[in-house]
Symmetry: C2
Subunit: 217 residues, 2 copies
Amino acid sequence: MSGPMLPRTRLRRLRERQVEDRATLDALLDEVLIAHVGLVVDGHPLVLPTAFARDGDQLLVHGSTGSGWMRAAAVGAPACLTVTALDGLVVARSAFESSMRYRSAVVFGVLRRLDARARNVALDVITDKLLPGRRAEVRPSTAQEQRRTLVLAMPIERWSLKVSAGWPDDGEDDRAGPAWAGLVPMRTAAGDPVAAPDLEEGVTVPRSVRAFIEARA
Amino acid sequence: MSGPMLPRTRLRRLRERQVEDRATLDALLDEVLIAHVGLVVDGHPLVLPTAFARDGDQLLVHGSTGSGWMRAAAVGAPACLTVTALDGLVVARSAFESSMRYRSAVVFGVLRRLDARARNVALDVITDKLLPGRRAEVRPSTAQEQRRTLVLAMPIERWSLKVSAGWPDDGEDDRAGPAWAGLVPMRTAAGDPVAAPDLEEGVTVPRSVRAFIEARA
């Protein structure tokens, strides 16, 4: 549901629309690897990028137990997790009408630290999201590794999703002019894998990495 | 300069390092098209994506004069502009050691509304950053278009830049094991241009668009 804190920005034009469909929200949250988390620290806003994953009706972020912002946030401070995909440049016949195609989700709530059992389940969910299939290719995490990791969760309850997917909306005069108009599609693309310098010869690129690259080539 | 609000996150590992080089900061700010702006609204954090540009020692964001968050921010509220580039997945031999390559700049300060003269100059800077060369291909903005646009500026004074550019850092036991390790490079890529549905036939893709795509293909 859209929360009361939502600004009116970007609703002015028809091509930028508020979407209330949870499936569209989930698709964005499952596609994008990085969220920007907002906190209030001493009255000032702080925005940091972080890897994240969706687990059903909650968002998960993880980090070191030594992470300052995560420890500060773990006590239930208000937070905002924003997830954005840039889908293209909308090149209009004028600078004024030019814009971007994007999808952007803003999730408001409180981050809470998961206990040990929930944390260990969550770590598998995060690994599965960031590189699907990888977990089955590597050894399980050790108890020490798990203990050194902090996982915070935020329920997906108050959220806003905006999708801009339109075309240039030039006026009649501009449309009669000589300028080009159109779209430059953009996406987060994966390139060819590079073996680590200390990798033994003959170790082939695993299925998880090949599938990840294929899906984002 | 790094400000006092900086969290200690991500400095734990050597491969994630704090960078104090202004040229590296500027390169990131000039490359990435979208910033995430953080504000405090009624004591709660709010994070929104926005196009932005660097103009020397300040960051510029623009929007409609009807934009709620911009109007709220224009009075000099504390803000945070975070700019992130995801450069790759670091695939280690264990889930625990896997991570990401990224560059992330956090700029703290106050957003202030530019007056009409500075705004008009700033709009050209923003257009030049988002699609270099485009401004010379289209008509100048009208006075009405300029009046309908709000531009906010934040000085680049208090900032933090983190760069993670390392390789997997597996322990000896894992290095002796059978698992692959390496990097999956990632980037924001531009695809082939698509003409607007209402574009007259025969209008060719302009030089600005061709150069943009070539630089990010």
